[in-house]
Amino acid sequence: MTCRLIALLLSLFLVLPAAANPALEAVIADHLDQIERPSRRTVEPLVAQIAATGPEGLGLLSAWAGRALGVTETGRLVIVAGDGATDAVTGQAVRGADPKMLRPNAGVRGVIESALVAGEVSSPDRARRAAALASIARDGTPEHLAALRAAAPDPDPALAARRARIEKLLAIRFDADPAARVAAIQDMAGDVGLDFRAALNPLLATRRVASTEEPQGANIAGELRVGSADFPREAAVALLTAQGLIQPRLTAADQRNALAAHIVDGRVGGVSAAELSDPQARDRAYEALEGAGTVPPAATEAETEAALADIRFFDIFAEPEAAVTDAARAAQRGAEWRLVAMKGIDLGLDALSLASIYFLAAIGLAITFGVMRVINMAHGEFIMMGAYTGYVAQTVIADRTLSLVAALPLAFAVTFAAGVVLYRLVIRHLAHRPLETLLATFGVSIALQQLAKNIFGTQARPLTAPAWLEGAITLNDVVSISTIRVAIFGLALLFLGLFLIIMKRTRLGLEVRAVTQNPGMAASMGINPDRIAMLTFGLGSGIAGIAGVAIGLFAQVTSELGQQYIVQSFMTVVVGGVGNIWGTLAGAGLIGVLSKVIESFNPSNTLAAQTFMILFIVIFIQFRPRGIIPQRGRAAEA
């Protein structure tokens, strides 16, 4: 109680100098409740009121938007910075205050920022100017246009260009003079930027009307012909019904309800209710009711026909100026093909990225399968081991770049060792029994997967890319690809090159090729097939580990990570053709491109894309059972 009293006294004491900005004081006093619980819909006038009270008001607003504004128990607003706090109205330091921090939501913050932004465009601080431009680009108003035009030119060339662009976009939307708008549109025609399209599309938005004659004074986009592809007859009937120009057709439910409402002594319209499970009996009963005038007659086909013959349909622009819509339409048409091409390129990039991921995941499998005819079902778990190695490296080494640099060779070493152990303990003993190898490695796979669950838990583990791999490489608003995917693409290329060098330029490669072609003959020439097989198996596993780090960087690290890629990796190898790196490359390319193309046909259902992709592969293998690039010579017969 005493505490309250002291607080009250303190606040009384504090009120006196608050007269420094009595307007702000009054606004706060009137709207404290709203300041505590603001809503985007209603906050705008309040923000304007506060902004109008002068620099203290602006300071309060920017603190409010920055979530640095708190309210004390006595209802004073204080700006909190670090440990200290100052009164928002008087600017005096407040000691010992324990304010409740205000947390305006993103919508409210947007409104406040938008109100503050006009003054910030010519701020001496470059970062603040950039932030102001970003805010205007997001949520422009006619006032912003005026502010931008009034502001002094920006000294920074990049920002100046950005500002010019935003100014043009705002001009298209808000300029009072249609000629200026047309000029701005024509100036930017051919641009595929999202913001430009976002400015054009609302201008070209239309609504559909049905009327007996051409609407006067409206900016007509075009007349529609009933029965054409984009305006079928049903759409016309629905439009007429919605506008009340014809009566809706009688639905089965309406008919049933009407009949049920008129049952008298178990009969309706001369038909007994028990018979009404037959649709024809229902029609008869309804017609009888119509005849008796108890129900209104339903709309007939003839009435609909007559209405359709009589009434014309128009698309009308919401934008009244024909010159503006014409220019907008022309600009949009001009960019159409460019846009399609850009989208194609973007899809191509996505496909390339997916292909490189599949390639990276499958290359190890291709090596082991190609050389030893052994399907390693635990390959997916090697990928997972690589990803977890990356995670562990990141927990030990804080610097993300360093940890990644450490993780790559570490992952290779770990999975190389795992591969060699697996080979020595299991696969070697199952030579020439490929189906049993498949099953034994599957046993290893489930054991490893559960082991990972026991060690790391089932929750996804964070593996975060270093800052220089974050973000995306952007050509324009349509064509962009995340940096990490480009890096993975580079990694895939690197391994392709590395593989080719090992195979074509080294002793090991020569021996591997010899063992692949004819193990018996190779053995006679002094090559130890067992050692070669072990090394290739280790190499393949090691690459899987590196693939794991790469995949973990853009996706989730879980114990099921490998499983998601294993089937696709098999497909890649089998589709491409065994024993040939180019085949694997072709397989990965085909699967990557195909998945993305199917996905783009039906963007709302990614699952369907995957289904059809696998179905395609199943059928493809029926017709090319040895893959795209089949192996030739003796090895093919084995």
Partner: protein, 411 residues
């Protein structure tokens, strides 16, 4: 040569049938519905389901153990059988409910309205209201029972024809069957395909028209049905692999090319066995899912089929009774260990909780069996019966392995 009677050629069949009968009788006498009640209904259901899995393993053995095709998509047929019977179970049950509810209306429903109401009940949960085309026969038990064998049979026939015709074999074929089941699972996962997506078909344990019977008795009836099916198909399978036909398919397993050169239509034989096995698996599935109560696409993800292969391998492929033992033992052990009922092992500093470690143990066990006991559990019986692999006295292993001698191959 005079042919011995079937039973004499397959003494194991008698033993299996007798054991199966004794088992069924024992469970019946200990059940809650027809006996002392020592075995609770939930356990009866587990046992009934296990018999169905044994039947699926039997079919898998025909394909893998005798024909040499490692099909990693066998559970697709199993689940398809379940889906086919599930459609009728769901439709008929819902129809009864809907008819009862609509009968309260002043106007009796038309057939169309009834169908729409049923569709709305079944698909309302997954946000749709039309009966998809694939449900056209769902109202008829006979039609769906026929579909239980026809749909998986056709799928196997078409798939097999395409694959065998283009001489896809070995690991390629395994991967292909795996892709088939994955594609089917993904397709079923989609809501648009009309099988209720991830929700699958549920409430299958309530058999329409048998509302008054109660699960205790129903579970015993299904146990009988499963046991009968297992017995029937065991005899059928033993007969198929026992005769001349059996010799040909085993020859195909051992060397396909030679059999082809001898003039046998290899593709036809493969196709016949593959399709037969698919149908048997589907029947097993149709008996399994009414006991499980729910079927959803997760049931035919590739992993399920691989587990089937694991059971067969542990049981011992190429021996019909072996794979049955494998399926029964491993699936019961699995459910016991993952059920949280197995006692933990307390080591100093760490407690081995079987829920966490069973999979690891199973995986390693599986590697060990493949390495050291390729004949699995059945190998023990073989040893007891004195059936040993033929001594080859160092001859080569056949054309595929070139000049490799038996000793070298083993090294």
């Amino acid at each position: 040569m005079t042919r011995q009677p079937f039973i004499l050629r397959n003494p194991s069949a008698l033993v299996v049938l007798a054991l199966l009968a004794a088992f069924t009788l024992a469970v019946t006498l200990m059940s809650a519905a027809y006996g002392s009640g020592v075995i609770p209904t939930s356990t009866v259901k587990v046992l009934g389901k296990t018999l169905c899995l044994a039947l699926a393993a039997l079919a898998m053995d025909l394909v893998w153990g005798y024909l040499g095709i490692l099909s990693l998509g066998q559970m697709a047929f199993f689940a398809l059988g379940g889906y086919m019977i599930g459609q009728w179970l769901m439709y008929a049950r819902t129809e009864a409910i809907v008819a009862a509810s609509l009968s309260g209306n002043p106007i009796p429903p038309t057939a169309q309205e009834l169908r729409e109401a049923v569709a709305n009940q079944i698909f309302g949960v997954v946000g749709s209201a039309d009966l998809p085309l694939v449900w056209s026969f769902a109202h008829s038990l006979t039609a769906q029972l026929v579909l239980v064998v026809v749909v998986p049979g056709l799928l196997a026939l078409v798939f097999g024809w395409l694959a065998f015709r283009s001489r896809v074999n070995g690991v390629y074929l395994s991967i292909l069957t795996q892709a088939m089941t994955l594609a089917l699972a993904l397709w079923l996962f989609q809501n648009d395909s009309g099988f209720r997506g991830n929700n699958g078909l549920s409430g299958l344990q309530n058999i329409p028209g048998l509302d008054g019977v109660g699960q205790a008795r129903l579970s015993i009836w299904f146990l009988w049905a499963s046991a009968a099916a297992l017995a029937l198909f065991y005899v059928l399978a033993a007969w198929v692999v026992g005769g001349k036909f059996g010799s040909v398919i085993r020859a195909i397993r051992d060397d396909e090319t030679r059999v082809r050169f001898l003039g046998y239509p290899v593709e036809g034989f493969k196709l016949a066995v593959f399709t037969l096995a698919a149908m048997i698996t589907a029947i097993a599935g149709a008996l399994y899912y009414p006991q499980a109560g729910i079927i959803n696409p997760a049931e035919l993800m590739p992993i399920a089929s691989i587990y089937l292969a694991v059971w067969v391998a542990i049981g011992g492929r190429g021996r019909l009774y072996g794979v049955m033992i494998g399926a029964i033992v491993v699936s019961l052990l699995s459910s016991w260990f993952t059920g949280g009922r197995a006692p933990s092992i307390h080591l100093p500093g760490y407690t081995v909780n079987w829920v966490d470690w069973w999979q690891v143990a199973l995986g390693l066990c599986f590697v060990l069996v493949t390495l050291f006991a390729p004949k699995g559990i059945a190998g023990i019986f073989d040893r007891l019966a004195g059936i040993l692999p033929p001594r080859r006295h160092g001859r080569d292993l056949g054309p595929d392995q070139g000049a490799l001698q038996e000793q070298e191959a083993k090294a």
